[in-house]
Symmetry: C2
Subunit: 597 residues, 2 copies
């Protein structure tokens, strides 16, 4: 693949595009368009933006992704979690409904676009690894709950607001008595219908004789049915007069192409939020794209995905939209409906463009309660509290990171939540790393094998201490290794040689090298020679470069057995407990992972 | 060791204390006291505090460490880098010289004490691992340069200030014409004398027939000589009248015991700085303590060290002092002078107490330029620019973290510098982790051994892909592993079985488990069975808990050979290049560390 073509995947699949692909993509685009119209309106409302911004964000960004994206079936556009993040960030600098608020949302799209594009060019996709699975899963669960709670006001027809569960509760509870009954009926009915159709419509349609695939797709378009019926109800029963809030005037026409605002002060303020939106949007999107690609034994390129999503967000910023990313439900529908190439996304864009040209007068009478119902049903499917239980069973650490993320997100908002999650998972990883598994090893009698003395009946020498390090060495565990070696030697006064078995050491960073040099130096002062055995080739090259090997008091042995033959002709079963290293004694050295055998 | 005695090391060594130890400790204390008097005055000046605060910080904190510390020879007190951090933090909330400034410094000692004590109790010493060697070494080098630059004003006798090299330069350059000549002569002479005595005095004394040990110790006390001579010069030549700034009035007497200020607002503001002071002070101190302990085949307990340093700082806060930690030069002198137990520190405290009772009238005439000279000479010995070259040769990543820390510290101050260093080293570690070494392996003909196909002439099956993962799996590399597996399988359409050799996998966290589940699921949809081989016991237990093994499409084999015998009866030399996995193809998968053999 040429260098330029690598950045423009469209050149690759575009050359082979044929009538068959066009028909498949077109059919998928029709279904995704029908699904996306209510979604884009609803998520714009969730983001605190005028509904038309949602439509704008569903046109040019899709075209941009079709040109630059590597997934053949990812459907880009407004999504729930990113809309919530947008609402939080824009709400911090402007009042929802104001022109400044829309400007802030557009600026977020611009900054996210620039950040993603730059990270893609510089291949910085690894930064998304900062979000561990427990953190992102906890964050999405908590966001889903927050979003659902934030939509209650629309279903009840009352005024309320807030960015945390506490704020939402405080503003919603006193407003309950003012619930608007017609709104509640419409919103409640829509919610129940959507939940029912999500769970039961597909089997019901199949029961009526529909093909399984068709039934799935038809069931997915049920929000459009809810929208249509509710508009009819509002118009025919004149519910607006009875207090049912509706979408109202939506400007008719195509998105205005315009330069996004260039306000350095605003950029600075919104930069951290834009970074969060970029990383979270990317992490979610790439995981959807990878799952769908695998189903057809295709693959995606994460770094180019960053460029694709970056261009999408830039397109959003230049056409009055707000931050977008790949949406899960919509991508699955696109896939199931048979989309074969990213062109399906471009055709969807045409569909949405037509809708914003011709459908906006109809949308005027759409009740906000029904949009809220589609949001609630969509986001509650993201809530996975069972993951808490599963993670608890697997690992207490990961559970702590997940629970911390959920609690802080609910109690203090999305930004504090995700930052807490990242900080916790990094600290917990550091903690785990600071307890590397190190085993004293001895010879299995009659063989050339050396095994953990705690698990096997092995032979050792009084004068030679053999330690096997079961991790790569880096700054997270360098100090702990120093510490264990120091304690082990301090408690074995007769030891004259220490042999470190490095078979499992895949890398040694500068901190660990410094530690090894310190250890070597300190051991020399205690009259103990330091030897290494079974050092891997690349690690050896590194150590040689740093002239560590020149100052080594001992030798480097190819095999541990060679080392023991040279240093300890006499080996026995050491019985005296006091001669065990410190890590096995009163203050046990914690095990994590463990030695083979 | 009992639980209580663990927290009070004094109970351990105190029981065996005898006359011999008393004499050794007492002798060491005399020498350390002589060395510490000018140091404590100088570092207080560096911290922007009245000289007496330095004396106060060298009395009760030493007694507290003698009771709670685990190092037998560490000498606690004011040190250069912590003084600089104190000046930066206190300078952000108050004007140097004001009562509020002293209050801020005392509050920093209180908060550091509480933080260190709590971290010690909860065994959180691993947090210091956030500071990698390149970061801390770069930080100390840059701090040394900053401190030396900040003292130039005293040696020149001009007014200047600033927290970065740029600020210092900007305020110092215009002031140069106002240089006070007598001050420059005294300060310059002291600087030259101290540099000379550091390098040449010891050999000169030995040449005069002094014992090597005595010569070393005597050379270390040369700052006291500079102090004494300069006081004589000031008094006899009446240099104060000619513009030489002196220490001036120092309150005579013992430190006032008092409650530190309880101002929640101030606590909140100073907390981040206090955290930095705690972590940096601890990391430095524990490394000195460990080095000295090793020389006598003793060991220290890092968690108890946190408690010891925490109590020291609390003692400083309750007696009008400022943050303290273990000092390098002073601890080495204590060790060389023969200190046997922490009691030496308590005797030093008595020495400093006597000094603050009786010596303060003498100190009145001590020129600030001489104090500045002792600081410059002390901190320039911390500057190690050669480490940049050594680190560059060993690892570009570690070099980047070190250079970034130095540059940001010099250009934007100590707090920005250390935060940049920590963030860079974590991100670089993540980047390294996001490129785990994964090798396709094949059978060495005629053996049961499997080796990297890129390094050995091995046999493979068309239908079975064998990958060996050479790292523990965690959230930093989980996505990359997914990615490699996905690409490998996508480019090998005939593959029906994937066997992951897990011999080098010491742990799998929840993110990596999720990735493995995704991989397994995606492979199933492509008609590829996932098998594992040589899984370690504890990892196996984990996987079983998560019910991963129940959903596994393939099997878990004890040895890789067993797997190949069961899945691939026919193996050959695969020649077709197209059949190689993606990672070896056009976009090579970067190698780091590498396979054994």
């Amino acid at each position: 693949m040429g260098r330029l073509a690598g950045y423009l995947p469209v050149l690759d699949w575009g050359r082979r595009y044929d009538r068959q692909a066009f028909l498949s993509d077109g059919m998928a685009a029709v279904i995704v368009t029908i699904m996306l119209i209510p979604q884009s309106l609803a998520y714009a409302m969730l983001a605190g933006l005028p509904p038309v911004v949602g439509l704008y964000a569903s046109i040019l960004p899709l075209v941009a992704y079709a040109i630059f994206g590597t997934s053949r079936t990812l459907a880009v556009g407004p999504v729930a979690v990113v809309s919530l993040l947008t609402a939080t960030a824009a709400g911090a600098v402007a009042t929802p409904g104001s022109a400044e608020y829309v400007t802030a949302a557009i600026t977020l799209a611009l900054l996210s676009g620039l950040i993603l594009f730059a990270m893609g060019i510089f291949r910085l996709g690894f930064v998304a690894n900062l979000l561990s699975h427990p953190v992102i899963s906890g964050f999405i669960t908590a966001s889903g709950l927050l979003i659902a709670a934030s939509q209650l006001k629309h279903i009840l027809g009352v005024e309320a607001g807030g960015h945390t569960l506490i704020e939402l509760g405080r503003s919603l509870l006193p407003a309950l008595p003012e619930t608007n009954l017609p709104t509640l009926v419409i919103g409640g009915a829509a919610t129940i219908f959507l939940f029912w159709s999500r769970a039961k419509l597909k089997p019901a349609l199949e029961h009526l004789g529909l093909h399984a695939g068709a039934a799935t797709l038809l069931a997915r378009t049920s929000p459009v049915l809810a929208v249509a019926v509710s508009i009819l109800a509002v118009v025919s029963l004149d519910l607006e007069a009875r207090g049912v809030a509706v979408v109202g005037e939506v400007p008719q026409g195509l998105p205005p192409l315009s330069l996004p605002p260039l306000d350095p002060g605003l950029w600075g303020t919104l930069l951290p939020a834009a970074f969060l939106i970029s990383i979270i949007g990317f992490a979610e999107s790439v995981s959807i794209a990878q799952t769908l690609a695998a189903k057809r034994r295709q693959s995606i390129r994460p770094d180019q995905e960053m460029i694709g999503l970056g261009m999408s967000n830039l397109a959003a910023a230049f056409s009055g939209g707000y931050p977008v990313t790949g949406g899960f439900a919509r991508s699955v529908v696109n896939f199931d409906a048979g989309a074969e190439t990213p062109a399906a996304g471009a055709y969807t864009a045409i569909g949405i463009a037509l809708a914003s040209l011709f459908l906006t007068p109809v949308i005027f009478h759409l009740p906000l309660a029904v949009l809220a119902a589609t949001i609630v049903v969509a986001v509650l499917s993201l809530v996975d509290l069972g993951a808490l239980r599963r993670t608890w069973r697997y690992s207490r650490f990961d559970f702590a990171a997940m629970a911390g993320t959920i609690l802080v997100t609910l109690a203090a908002g999305v930004e504090a939540g995700i930052l807490t999650g990242v900080a916790m998972s990094l600290l917990l990883h550091l903690w785990r790393s600071s307890r590397p598994h190190i085993a004293e090893i001895g010879q299995v009698p009659g063989t050339r094998h050396y095994r953990n003395i705690l698990r096997h009946d092995v032979l050792r020498s009084q004068h030679v201490l053999s330690l096997r390090i079961d991790e790569s060495l880096w700054f997270g565990n360098a100090r702990a290794v120093e510490d264990v070696i120091q304690r082990s030697v301090a408690e074995r006064p007769r030891v004259r040689h220490l042999v470190l078995n490095c078979a499992a050491v895949n890398g040694i960073d500068a901190s660990a090298l410094e530690s090894l040099e310190l250890v070597s130096h300190r051991l020399a002062e205690q009259g103990v020679d330091l030897h290494l055995s079974e050092v891997k080739g690349p690690v050896m090259d590194r150590l040689a470069k740093a002239s560590f090997l020149e100052h080594l008091t001992g030798k480097v042995f190819l095999s541990h057995h060679e080392a023991m033959e040279a240093l300890a002709p006499e080996i026995t079963r050491l019985a005296d407990h006091a001669d065990r290293p410190a890590m096995d004694a009163s203050r046990p050295f914690p095990e994590r992972g463990s030695a083979a055998g």
